[in-house]
């Protein structure tokens, strides 16, 4: 049974209810938006206002919002989106007010006393989804859009809201349905003069579909980076300039920086964006043999950070000769996974023997930091950024489904090569279609028949 991921909490109230919520983040902000959706959106809004405007769909009306006693709470703009031409597909009224949390809350409470119900998280989107205004990946992307922490993430999520995953899947899904229709027509209309494609033709069609699917699956490596971001640990002996580098990369004075070795006794982290990918930089305590209990604890945490990181920067001090500790650290980071060696203090007279793979950087002057960012990006995503038109998937659920689909396409190839009858080959092909359906919406037997009737002249 196909079931969409619907939050049970969201379904706990009648759909006939009109829901209301403050749709801008709480706290500071010049404008606060209250959104009402449902059959009573207009009536309830009317009760909030001093004068009910002569509602025109999609027109902003100047309004004064009043409390129960008729006293003015705020003024602003009200816009009515008439069903079904709204985000949710229902009557929607949006009140743009002056963003004071106290005012917004008061207006919302007034709305609930007039019959609205507070919207559950994601309920506007759920309603849009139920009314067919969003497909499943779009609805999922709305959640991502709300959760986006970098602009680039937001843009990717916004693209998916406008259906980019479904759009990206559409051509390959169409080709798969085409292949299925061809085989179905051959079976159901065998007494018509329909040419049945030879095996070579079937294999050729499969070979057109598979690479598209694989490209999308591969794009997940990058999509996952964009979606989840990654963790980058900065490791080094004490006082090689880890915290300065951390601040350079993060772009603000976040960590405590002194010349006294061992200042960073705990793990400090901050997220910054590299080419739109959210990177959580983790600054760690300098690693050395220590007798200080507190410092030892900090060093323990540094090793933990190394283990947790997607990528490690091992920082060396160019102005000091390399020590055995540096080499041990490099070795340990290498064992842990991906790493880059950074030779800091490139602005000072070099005294260390420069390792060929080290990236020279001056955290103090900023020299080499840009090259370091590029090196980080190149390490994480050797294939480069997929072009915008190609699109890429960012959801693990999508990736898993597409892999399932691919498995069955692979099986279909073997089935053709084994010259197994077509109705069994179709079992593989439907099994490959079903996961794609789970992303873009179901394909019914009638869809296949419609396709057949459109393509073939059927009928005795």
């Amino acid at each position: 049974m196909v079931t969409a991921g619907v939050d049970p909490a969201v379904t706990a109230a009648p759909n006939s209810a009109t829901i209301a919520a403050i749709s801008t983040p709480m706290g500071r902000g010049g404008i606060g938006l209250i959104r009402l959706s449902g059959p009573a959106a207009l009536t309830i809004s009317g009760g909030l206002l001093q004068h009910v405007p002569d509602w025109q769909p999609r027109h902003a009306h100047r309004v004064i919002v009043v409390g129960e006693d008729g006293a003015k709470l705020d003024d602003g703009l009200a816009t009515w989106f008439q069903a079904p031409h709204s985000y949710t597909g229902e009557d929607v009224v949006e009140l743009s007010l002056h963003g004071s949390p106290v005012v917004l809350r008061a207006v919302l409470e007034r709305a609930t006393s007039l019959g609205a119900r507070l919207a559950e998280p994601g309920e506007f989107t759920l309603r849009a989804f139920i009314h067919g205004h969003l497909d499943l990946p779009q609805a999922e992307a709305v959640r991502d859009l709300i959760d986006a922490t970098t602009l680039y993430q937001a843009r990717v999520a916004a693209q998916q809201v406008s259906g980019s995953v479904s759009r990206r899947l559409a051509p390959l899904k169409a080709e798969l349905i085409e292949l299925i229709s061809l085989l179905e027509a051959g079976i159901d209309f065998a007494d018509n003069d329909i040419d049945v494609a030879p095996d070579a033709e079937l294999l050729r069609r499969l070979s057109l579909i598979e690479p598209q699917l694989v490209r999308l699956i591969d794009s997940f490596a990058y999509g996952k980076l964009v979606h989840d971001g990654l963790t980058l640990a900065i490791l080094g002996r004490p006082n090689v300039g880890k915290s300065s580098l951390f601040n350079r990369l993060v772009g603000q004075d976040r960590a405590i920086v002194t010349d006294i070795p061992g200042t960073t006794r705990d793990v400090v982290s901050e997220t910054a964006s590299i080419a739109g990918i959210p990177v959580k930089f983790v600054d760690t305590a300098g690693v050395r043999e220590s007798v200080d209990v507190v410092e030892t604890l900090g060093i323990e945490r540094s090793w933990q950070a190394l283990a947790d990181a997607d990528l490690t920067l091992v920082v060396l001090d160019l102005s000091q000769p390399l020590e055995p500790g540096d080499h041990q650290l490099i070795e340990r980071a290498q064992q842990a996974g991906r790493m880059l060696i950074v030779a800091n203090k490139a602005d000072l007279a070099p005294r260390a023997q420069i390792l060929s793979e080290a990236i020279p950087v001056s955290a103090l002057t900023g020299e080499g930091v840009e090259a370091l960012r590029e090196a980080i990006l190149a390490t994480l995503n050797p294939d480069g950024i997929p072009s915008q038109e190609d699109g890429f998937i960012t959801s693990m659920r999508h990736e898993r489904l597409l892999r399932d689909s691919w498995d069955f396409l692979d099986r279909a190839r073997l089935t053709i090569e084994d010259r197994i009858p077509h109705e069994m080959l179709l079992l593989d092909l439907y099994s490959a279609l079903r996961p794609i359906d789970a992303i873009t919406g179901a394909t019914t037997a009638d869809d296949i028949l419609n396709n057949i009737f459109g393509k073939f002249c059927i009928g005795k």
């Binding site: 049974m1 196909v2 079931t3 969409a4 991921g5 619907v6 049970p8 969201v10 379904t11 706990a12 109230a13 009648p14 759909n15 006939s16 597909g89 759920l126 309603r127 989804f129 139920i130 009314h131 067919g132 499943l136 179905e184 051959g186 079976i187 159901d188 209309f189 065998a190 007494d191 018509n192 003069d193 049945v196 084994d418 010259r419 197994i420 009858p421 077509h422 109705e423 069994m424 179709l426 079992l427 099994s431 179901a442 019914t444 037997a445 009638d446 296949i448 028949l449 009737f453 002249c457 059927i458 009928g459 005795k460």
Partner: protein
């Protein structure tokens, strides 16, 4: 009762076509006093369109009718004049038998069989009114003033309800090929407050075989070893006739194109929706302008007639255009047309008002089957007739309804599709409608359905005995082959299970069908298992019943539109709900959550 001419029945069947005959015979065999009302007793089970039974997916339906104890398969085996097993280049799941039949013999023999049923009375009469009290069927009033009462009534009116035939600009009211329409019954049914739709179907011209130059056409022979429809038939020994393959050409297409304004299909005269799988020649030429020729089949309508059915040339063009179309085809230049083709519009109900037992939800005891439910085809009608009959009998005998699931057979799929999705065009069965196609084969229709037929009491002792022997042989043959480690060998596509080997394993000659089933189930075990896993998932969701009194509009989170669609169909399970067009996966999830949280 003051009307002295009133008669009492348990079940009344109105209409004696392919649905009506199955329904009436089933009820009679179950021991119920059954009345079969027809407007013309000489045209019982008339094959109104093509002279063939079966075909892909339709052959499956006939096997299912037979397995349950119906009549269509046995009769086809008796009167078939050319048998072909279709789709043999694919696998066994989509093999399907088809037979050209002697039309006259089919109806004559069906009438004989009906007359021989002890509990069945045939009445030639026109039904004028339906007697309904408090949403319960009581009987019917006849046009001659008589009243006939019954606990259950099965209506199988085919294209007779407000039938309107079109030949070019000419149109006339009729039922079937010039027979009178049943307008009184049409009116009475309209009065029940059901929702109706208007459908259309068509039929090609019939030619005089003596005026055809047969030498120019490619012959299509029957199979050397004919495949019977009925599990009760051992062998078909009859000599078989030939069909012939013809093609239209550019000249034909020019005639049709030039006369398009005179086609009632394209002039706007016809409002009903026709089947896309059986398009008129006008449609074929308009919709596929690049196709240089269209295939036609010349099929004899019987052994003692010269009438030839031109399969593929369905049309509602004026007679003079039909004549010119025929004359444009080499070999048919001199062909004489005995009857012109015509299109017919008729009333059908919206089948979403029915239960899985084909009972009208709003009127207890009223059952509908066949074209009135929006289907087309003898086989589709037959299986519905059987199901409606069995359920009418259950209703009259106060037994639980008899329903089939999609996993039981094509019959179950047909009914579930109809009542879940309605019929936008005349509904025909296709194998691609079956999610579990690999299991729903002609060779195992008996294993799937005969035990159910036995439970209903429709299966004769003969059939039961045969079935037992076959099942016992299947088990022994399968075990014997596995213990000889033959399964790996049999999985090779080119290896077939020979009769000799089967005989050796069984120590006796295998009965018909044993080898097919055992071989298929061993050879394709991997695929069958793969499908089994899907079947299991479907069965699980089919096991989630939706309560009868569920108020969809009050279910939290369901949009009004979805709630309305659900309320219209009133799905009986969560699985069925998901098959209703417009019911989104999210809505099913919401229903699922709702059911779980209200389980107590």
């Amino acid at each position: 009762m003051m009307n002295t001419s009133s008669r009492k029945y348990d079940v009344l069947v109105i209409g004696a076509g392919h649905a009506g005959c199955e329904a009436a015979r089933a009820c009679a065999r179950l021991g119920l006093r059954t009345g079969l009302i027809t407007m013309n007793i000489d045209l019982i089970a008339q094959m109104s369109c093509n002279p063939a039974i079966g075909g892909i997916a339709k052959g499956h339906l006939v096997r299912e009718i037979d397995a349950l104890g119906g009549v269509m398969g046995e009769l086809t085996d008796e009167v078939g004049i050319q048998f072909r097993l279709l789709n043999t280049s694919r696998g066994p799941a989509v093999w399907s038998p088809r037979a050209q039949c002697d039309k006259k013999q089919y109806r004559v023999r069906m009438k004989e069989r009906m007359e021989q049923e002890p509990n069945l009375r045939i009445l030639q009469a026109e039904v004028a009114s339906l007697l309904v009290e408090n949403g319960e069927m009581r009987g019917v009033g006849l046009a001659d003033g008589r009243t006939v009462t019954a606990a259950s009534v099965v209506v199988t009116t085919g294209t007779f309800l407000n039938g309107l035939a079109h030949v070019g600009e000419t149109k006339y009211q009729c039922g079937r090929n010039g027979e009178a329409p049943s307008n009184l019954l049409g009116h009475a049914l309209r009065g029940l407050g059901l929702e109706w739709t208007r459908l259309k179907t068509g039929t090609p011209p019939r030619l005089d075989g003596r005026s055809i130059d047969w030498s120019v056409f490619e012959k299509q022979h029957g199979d050397v070893e004919p495949t019977p429809f009925s599990f009760m038939t051992d062998r078909i020994e009859r000599e078989q006739v030939c069909c012939y393959v013809a093609y239209t050409n550019q000249a034909t297409h020019a005639v049709v194109r030039d006369s398009m304004s005179r086609s009632p299909l394209y002039s706007g005269q016809i409002e009903g929706i026709g089947p896309r799988y059986c398009p008129s020649i006008e449609d074929k030429i308009v919709k596929f302008p690049d196709k240089s020729r269209h295939q036609l089949f010349l099929e004899p309508e019987g052994l003692d007639t010269y009438e030839i059915y031109v399969n593929g040339l369905s049309t509602s063009m004026p007679v003079d255009v039909q004549e010119r179309v025929l004359a444009s085809i080499p070999g048919l230049e001199q062909a004489e047309m005995i009857r012109p083709g015509y299109a017919i519009e008729y009333d059908a109900i919206d089948p979403r008002q029915l239960t899985h037992g084909l009972q009208v939800r709003r009127i207890r005891g009223l059952f509908l089957a066949g074209q009135i439910n929006g289907t087309s085809g003898y086989e589709e009608a037959g299986c519905q007739g059987l199901m409606a009959g069995l359920n009418a009998a259950c209703h009259a005998g106060q037994r639980d309804p008899f329903e089939l699931a999609r996993t039981d057979g094509y019959t179950g799929i047909l009914i579930d599709d109809l009542i879940s999705k309605g019929a936008d065009e005349p509904y025909r069965m296709f194998t691609s409608r079956a999610e579990y196609r690999l299991h729903l084969r002609i060779d195992n229709a008996d294993a799937r359905l005969t035990p159910l037929g036995e439970r209903m009491g429709l299966v004769s002792p003969d059939r039961s005995a045969r079935f037992q022997v076959k099942e016992e042989q299947k088990t022994r043959l399968r075990q014997g082959l596995l213990s000889r480690r033959m399964d790996a060998t049999l999985r090779r596509p080119e290896v077939r299970l020979s009769v000799d080997l089967a005989t050796e394993v069984l120590g006796a000659a295998p009965v018909r069908g044993v080898i097919d089933t055992v071989e298929t189930e061993i050879k394709y075990a991997g695929y069958l298992d793969q499908q089994d896993r899907h079947v299991q998932r479907l069965r699980d969701s089919e096991r989630r019943p939706l309560p009868d009194n569920l108020v969809f509009a009050s279910i939290p989170g369901l949009s009004r539109e979805v709630a309305e669609r659900l309320a219209r169909v009133r799905p009986s399970t969560l699985g069925q709900a998901g098959r209703i067009p417009g019911v989104t996966p999210a809505a099913v999830a919401i229903l699922d959550i709702y059911l779980s949280s209200h389980a107590e």
